[in-house]
Symmetry: C2
Subunit: 683 residues, 2 copies
């Protein structure tokens, strides 16, 4: 994006978007006909798509990438692979093998240190099984849907929007459609994201779309809830779902967490765990799966004060921002200092800004290429109605820009919803600058009379009286005054309250604190997607040998920190291997011993493949006093000779990022022989 | 158990078990009537129960424990609590709050280091969603059931055996039953574990048992599968379950893992993850839950050679073993060296012995009280039919002895089952000492002819021919020879194979390797149960103050390694806090700052409650040069004075167990003042 040659190609496309965007704005200003505006917006979307496609095409040229080769390596060395393959496999489910699992565990540990430890967040670990009521309140039961169409004969299902898209794209790419029809198709593609099911149905009918597999007729689009349903307990009467996100577990525990934090705001709660999403037709490997690891932070703040206590640390940190405005006007991603972006109102508040900077730091640390990372602001029509501002950390991959982290200001939506559904107050308190006098109506029930009258139902009635709003209390007082009796409705049952059961009185008091529902800023990480981006960004092919592919993962993330290779199967090497592996283990350094046959070069290639950054080779020189071994670095393939007893400590600091390889090469003598033997043997 | 006073009380009970056990043996030897033997076995069980009950009663007296106080603390400081409490809660589901979650994360990290890193195991991370076919093969679909009875009016469900047990125990405890009836009840209780559903039904009817909640009639016992069912994908055609254990994910990946290990045996695979079990009526807090974290190891070995390469490390390690033999004869738990126990055949093989020792080490390290830990061998009637030997690590708690880790030799059962179900060979190879000549029949299909004849089905036919057993090939050869045509059955469809499609020939060859299905030794850890035992074993009440309760968790496991407490709210203290927290964070030391008001004594009590082992107090002396602070240890409440810049490093080595508090008290000057101020203020 920074490349001037690329910018030159993109310039006319950007200009075209900008002009069209201005045109739309002018139409709206002068109150043009709705149809005219809609058509202009569609044209704008088409121009934006053109710009995006060209941009991605140029990026692909700049960073040539062989996805087939990478996927072959990931599969061959079992980084991850399809689950239950021996049973035919299940789409959208993946198992992580030893290398993938260790990489994932390292990324999670780094996440914990980078976010939780650094900001002393409260980490929780909540149930995945979730009763329906909680997900009804959060909106997932009603709105977490995609539309699908079914093959009328085989019952095979397709996601309706995906089906339409690929049908039309195929036609467009065939080059066999008239210019007029092509325009129609592009119009639809531009509008597809906002289609109702009726519009999808009309499109499918109009162009006579069939099942892409069998050619059979298709059903109408049906809504399909993306949560996995189950039933909790033996009665079959407690419907539940597997959680679609970890966030809700935090919201329902808000009271306990606020108390744990001694009632003080702001505070942040984090959770790392599994989420589930019953995708209609999963694809794109790790990017769209049915079971995934997430890491979410819910940062609770006073809605009137979204400042962040550590904002000064990142005030002048630079981040690549693709603002909503630039998206509309065909502009580009621009680098901004976070402090300046918040001050200018580009980023809504300090807390959002703080997390954008911290997320950027984190992604770079674990191996995302900074040139293929941007923060894209949601357009107002993308955001949930309650959200204030939202930025996605997007990584560029061979699948295009993919969302890896969403950072959203969700206002007080979730707490409000759970509070409404349960009747439990989910609020924080703050001291008022000036104490305030409040007046109101108080309800004083006579528990004895109520108890005698309602027996087993007394508790329900008392709870209802206690939970009434000020408005309801005023109404109750008035009715009791007027007619001496009031009917109240508790969970669908009626109870008659009389004057002897409940007194009401006016009161006034001075209050020093104010209750409020906190806002929440939520950074939400898809660990699988982040890993996938890191794999793509770190995939390498050796210049001198097309067959030698490897992952240049940062040592911090690498699954094993070093490998230990005896040059050959000499029994004399064994005590050295044994001693070395003991010291490495004592220092918690994960390592792999490869004492198989095969040339040392071939074994270096094998250890490179699984991203091991450092290799120690024990050879005949090791047997001589003072005992030394070769230490080789994966990316540069350079080697040095180090004393055996120094090695574990050197690997330790190298692998936690506190020492760089260049410093090692300056300190220790260079070594050439073994890499030479690789060239001799071939790889 | 070691206490001679206790042994004296137990002696007659042990003797009585021993005599009865001998009696049973003699009856069996002389071929007594079945009824007579059954009655003698029931009496043996009753005597064993008496012994167990007395033993537990004495243990409870020896270790007085206030479960109510502990549960109050766990709840009040949100170690863990019921999930979805604001929605009324769901039985058997728990959320871990900040302290519980950090403790759990630490235990898991220690587990990783202790097992995976130490033995360079392959760690994997597999899907929880599991298609039915895989769990059908493992036996879970058919056999993972409990029996339940339903209240005929309200549909409330009860676990049938639990219902019978509590009904009879209540009667027995009421003291209102005749001696004869009491004997009948005790007979049933002794036999209950082995009851069929018909026997349970007969018992419920005979004693006219009703719903304990409503008094309504009960249904017949119905089998209830304990897996949570769901459906994968939109079609509703792929039934699945949430995995009941993590092990199956390892078995289905066996081929990939063996390949990753370059075909070599033995090797161990580990997985840490969630398992699900839809308990009919969960109870006992963390001990019986519906969603739980497990850590499982599958160690694959040659069934003819179950030696362990690192056995010499633990050869003379002592473990408390409660053998099957001692259980039958009223004997006690005895300490044995693992090497001696394997040699004597008490433990079946080296690999099992190795894990018993390693599990013992681990549990002690994380805070299980060694006096309340034993390894109990399964009796032959407890084990699955395929298992060779099985030992449970049991911890004694206020709920009795609870199984925390199961260590089982599962032979080659699982791989065999998945292999049968999928037709995929799950085998390893080993070199033969002496190459062997084998003869057999070979099948040579003519792909062209088969292709022309069967078109789209050709692949199915070829696959079938390729997958035939030696027996089937012999049959095929004979039939082709005799009649020139053979019908084969592929997935329920018939194909006629003729001579021109498939030639058969005799062959003989020399083989150097042999294929075999590996055996597997499986240590399986219930993390929640282990945590619960650690909480009970580390719960303490201060001698001088009944209200001050805390957890004496080992620093390795403690959720926060230290707390930082400014003596009072002086702004001068802030830069010191800031500087300290930065250094602690850089060294990855989790800590908690408590700058709330309240006396220092009260804040110490609060930090003790959540098991923080060390507290740093910043006071007015800190302001003076050289800057120092107080360091206090939780269990002894002793304090020393340490230079501020030394503190993070001291905490680091203290909290990873590499430095003991006694050494710190010897090195640094003692400090008295602040703990005194606690006494003055009260707690």
């Amino acid at each position: 994006m920074q490349d001037p040659a690329i910018e030159e190609v993109l310039q006319p496309l950007r200009e075209s978007v900008r002009l069209q965007s201005e045109h739309v704005r002018r139409l709206k200003e002068r109150g043009a006909l709705k149809d005219e505006i809609v058509q202009a917006v569609v044209n704008l979307q088409i121009k934006k798509d053109d710009l995006r496609e060209k941009e991605e095409e140029l990026l692909r040229k700049e960073e040539p990438f062989d996805r087939f080769k990478m996927e072959d390596l990931l599969k061959r060395r079992f980084f991850y692979d399809q689950s239950f393959a021996i049973y035919g496999g299940i789409a959208g489910l993946y198992d992580y093998g030893p290398v993938g699992c260790a990489t994932k565990a390292n990324i999670i540990q780094l996440w914990r240190n980078h976010f939780i430890l650094e900001d002393r967040m409260l980490e929780v670990d909540c149930s995945m099984l979730t009763p329906e009521a909680a997900l009804k309140a959060s909106g997932h039961v009603d709105r977490f849907c995609d539309y699908m169409v079914k093959d009328k004969k085989t019952d095979e299902c397709f996601r309706a929007d995906h089906l339409i898209k690929s049908h039309l794209e195929k036609k467009l790419n065939s080059g066999k459609v008239s210019e007029e029809l092509a325009k129609e198709y592009r119009d639809i593609l531009a509008k597809l994201d906002g289609f109702t099911w009726q519009e999808m149905q009309a499109t499918i009918e109009k162009y006579n779309m069939k099942s892409p597999v069998t050619g059979n007729d298709l059903s109408e689009p049906l809504p399909f809830n993306l949560m996995f349903p189950t039933s909790i307990g033996p009665s079959g009467l407690v419907p539940g779902y597997l959680r679609p996100e970890t966030a809700q577990g935090i919201f329902v525990n808000f009271k306990r967490l606020l108390q744990f934090n001694q009632g003080k705001l702001p505070f942040a709660v984090a959770q790392i765990g599994t989420g589930f999403r019953n995708e209609i037709s999963p694809r794109q490997g790790l990017i769209r799966v049915r079971e995934f690891t997430m890491a979410e932070i819910e940062h609770f703040v006073d809605p009137k004060n979204k400042r962040h206590p550590k904002f000064h640390y990142i005030h002048s940190y630079e981040v690549p921002l693709f603002s909503a405005c630039n998206q509309l006007n065909g502009g580009e991603t621009e680098r901004h200092e976070v402090g300046e972006a918040v001050k200018a109102g580009l980023i809504n508040n300090e807390t959002l800004g703080y997390y954008i900077a911290r997320v950027h730091e984190f992604l770079i640390k674990i191996g995302v290429d900074p040139r293929r990372l941007r923060f894209r602001q949601h357009l107002s029509n993308e955001m949930a109605h309650y959200a204030t501002d939202c930025w996605d950390a997007e990584c560029y991959t061979s699948h295009g820009w993919i969302e890896c982290v969403g950072i959203a200001d969700r206002s007080c939506y979730d707490l409000t919803q759970h509070s409404k559904a349960t009747g439990v107050k989910l609020v924080a308190e703050k001291n008022l600058d000036i104490p305030r006098k409040v007046t109101g109506i108080r309800c004083i029930p006579d528990k004895r009379v109520i108890g005698m009258q309602f027996r087993g139902d007394a508790a329900v009635v008392l709870k209802h009286l206690d939970g009434m709003s000020e408005e309801e209390r005023i109404k109750l007082a008035k009715q009791l005054e007027n007619s001496g009796t009031v009917e109240i409705n508790c969970n669908g049952r009626c109870f008659a309250i009389t004057k002897d059961m409940c007194r009401t009185e006016q009161f006034s008091k001075i209050v020093h604190v104010e209750e409020f529902i906190p806002s929440v800023v939520e950074p939400s990480f898809g660990i699988g997607r982040i890993m996938y981006a890191v794999f793509e960004h770190s995939f390498r092919i050796r210049e001198d040998d097309e067959q030698r592919t490897y992952f240049a993962l940062p040592p911090l993330v690498a699954p094993y920190k070093c490998s230990v290779l005896p040059l050959s199967a000499q029994p004399e090497f064994e005590p050295f291997i044994e001693c070395l592996t003991r010291s490495l283990t004592e220092m918690n350094i994960s390592h792999k011993i490869d004492d198989s046959g095969g040339s040392i070069g071939r074994r270096y290639a094998r250890t490179d493949e699984i991203a091991v950054p450092f290799a120690i080779t024990i050879d005949f020189d090791t047997l001589r006093f003072p005992h030394t071994a070769t230490l080789r670095e994966r990316d540069s393939m350079t080697q040095v000779r180090v004393h055996l007893d120094e090695l574990p400590a050197v690997i330790k600091v190298l692998s936690n990022g506190k020492l760089l390889w260049e410093e090692v090469t300056r300190k220790y003598p260079k070594f050439e022989q073994q890499e030479a033997s690789r060239k001799q043997n071939g790889a």
